[in-house]
């Protein structure tokens, strides 16, 4: 989308920290093989909980180059963000030292901030919940950085040397899409030339598992953790919690071309709408998500038929899968039946605010490789979900434009269109 400002925004660097392997390369190999990274929760004893499975990242801070001080002061999600941003910056080949720091910004999406650090520190200062007047003598010095998770964006900015507009975007489970959409807007309007944008969440802590247990949003397929995340399948009964991060280097198209950068994709269109219906519930008609898709395509100047692949929210709750299927039909018309649609949450789980960015990475890599990742574990489709969800195995597929969508608590519905910058406008 050139938008009203005439500037176009492209992805020139990708970093991914996802369950099943750190780094964009490992991530893509997991997806294109159709392997799953869900397992029984190992970071604490999950036996008291209803849902006991998750997609965890095996994250070796030392191996990934984080200093002891960085590890001490940062929540796990912030650590993800910093490591992933460094990968994206290296991948972009852009010399950050040569940039105007005030024209370089950072936007990091996160739904639940430092929830893991807060859960741990709460136990300490409250003596495991015994003290209502919690004891400040036991508080760690960086507790404030857990309280207000804008610290994530500051850490990333310090790591890459950015001093321009910097913020955390926190719109629940669409944060990862909205953070990148926000950053693209800053470049487009001319407030920044380069943005390091993405998302991170590390929600696999007792409080998060318990709060999703309470609303039966997560799966109870504890007996078969590897096949617990089953979007669009008739046997699915909730999502599988995940964690991770994806971060991008975004640049203005002309300057990226001038420096001969590798361009993965253009952020061609983006929109977000609210259902103004319910904090956790979705109306089955998919109306607001369809509207977000319509506006995003409009911004991209692409007709629905131009969408080659839909990266679905596909969380694996009954209400989501049906809501989303309805939204695709409503916005794409007959083309909804022709276009491949898949959910990588079947493989890497649902990392709340991070997943939107991880799915953008998957979408960009699908374009890069002309391969559509599959929906794993999809053996017996829900009869009400009657689209082509690319079951089980990846598909070779020419992919010039991708639609990626997200849906979340608070009623937020977001859609982003990635496209090759040299495509023909509709």
């Amino acid at each position: 989308m050139s938008g009203p400002y005439g500037r176009r925004v492209v992805i020139t660097g990708i970093g991914v920290t996802a369950p099943g392997g750190v780094g964009a390369k490992n991530f893509w190999s997991l997806l294109s093989d159709g392997r799953t990274a869900t397992r029984r929760i190992s970071s604490f004893d999950p036996s008291p909980f209803r849902s006991q499975v998750a997609a965890e990242v095996d994250f070796d801070t030392e191996l990934l180059g984080l200093g002891a001080q960085e590890v001490r002061r940062m929540d796990r999600a912030a650590q993800f963000a910093v490591v992933t941003a460094r990968e994206a910056v290296a991948d972009s080949g852009l010399e950050f030292d040569s940039l105007d720091p005030h024209r370089t910004g950072v936007t990091i999406g996160s739904a639940v901030g430092a929830t893991m650090g807060l859960d741990e520190e709460y136990r300490t200062v409250s003596d495991s919940g015994r003290l209502e007047l919690v004891d400040h003598e036991y508080a760690v010095p960086h507790l404030y950085n857990y309280l207000v998770p804008s610290s994530f964006a500051a850490e990333v900015a310090w790591a890459v040397g950015a001093e321009g507009p910097t913020t955390v975007v926190s719109t629940g489970c669409t944060s990862g899409l909205d953070a990148v959409g926000y950053a693209a807007e800053l470049i487009r309007e001319g407030s920044a030339d380069v943005m390091v944008a993405g998302a991170a969440d590390a929600p696999i802590s007792p409080i998060t598992v318990a709060c999703f247990d309470a609303i039966k949003a997560t799966t109870s397929h504890n007996d078969d953790p590897q096949h617990a995340s089953r979007p669009f399948d008739g046997t699915r009964n909730g999502f599988v919690l995940g964690e991770g991060s994806a971060v991008f280097v975004l640049e203005e198209l002309d300057s990226a071309r001038r420096r001969g950068a590798h361009v993965y994709a253009e952020i061609a269109g983006y929109a977000t709408r609210s259902n103004a219906f319910h904090m956790t519930g979705l109306r089955p008609d998919g109306r607001e998500m369809a509207e977000a898709i319509r506006v995003a395509l409009d911004e991209a100047r692409l007709a629905p038929q131009a969408v080659d692949y839909v990266n679905a929210h596909g969380s694996g709750t009954k209400q989501n899968d049906r809501h989303e299927t309805a939204a695709f039909k409503r916005s794409l018309g007959e083309h909804a039946y022709a276009v491949p649609v898949s959910s990588i949450k079947s493989m890497v789980g649902h990392s709340l605010g991070a997943i939107g960015s991880i799915e953008i990475a998957a979408s960009a890599l699908a374009m890069e490789n002309n391969v559509v990742p599959p929906t794993a574990n999809l053996h017996t489709p829900d009869p009400e979900c009657d689209l082509d969800y690319v079951p089980l195995t990846a598909r070779d597929w020419r992919t010039d434009a991708v639609l990626s969508v997200g849906s979340g608590f608070g009623g937020f519905q977001s859609a982003m269109v990635l496209a090759r910058p040299d495509r023909r406008a509709a």
Partner: protein, 89 residues
Amino acid sequence: MPSHEFTLDDLRRILRDGAGADEAADLDGDIADTDFESLGYESLAMLETGGRIEREFDITLDDDALTDSRTPRELIEAVNALLVPAEIG
């Protein structure tokens, strides 16, 4: 917590504490056969209510018990069905 029976008054109290009361609904009236939905309680309110009943009466409602119980009478029956055998046993 041992308890003989789950009553409409128990349900009223738990609804009020856990989900609040809709100004348009008269919880103290004859509500046994009124849809929860007409009383202003949607699925989330029912999940909170179910969780509170489970804790107070030390039972586990299966996933369908809540969604299948459309009225207070049906929910009370579902809860009591779980309570009585425990008392005999």
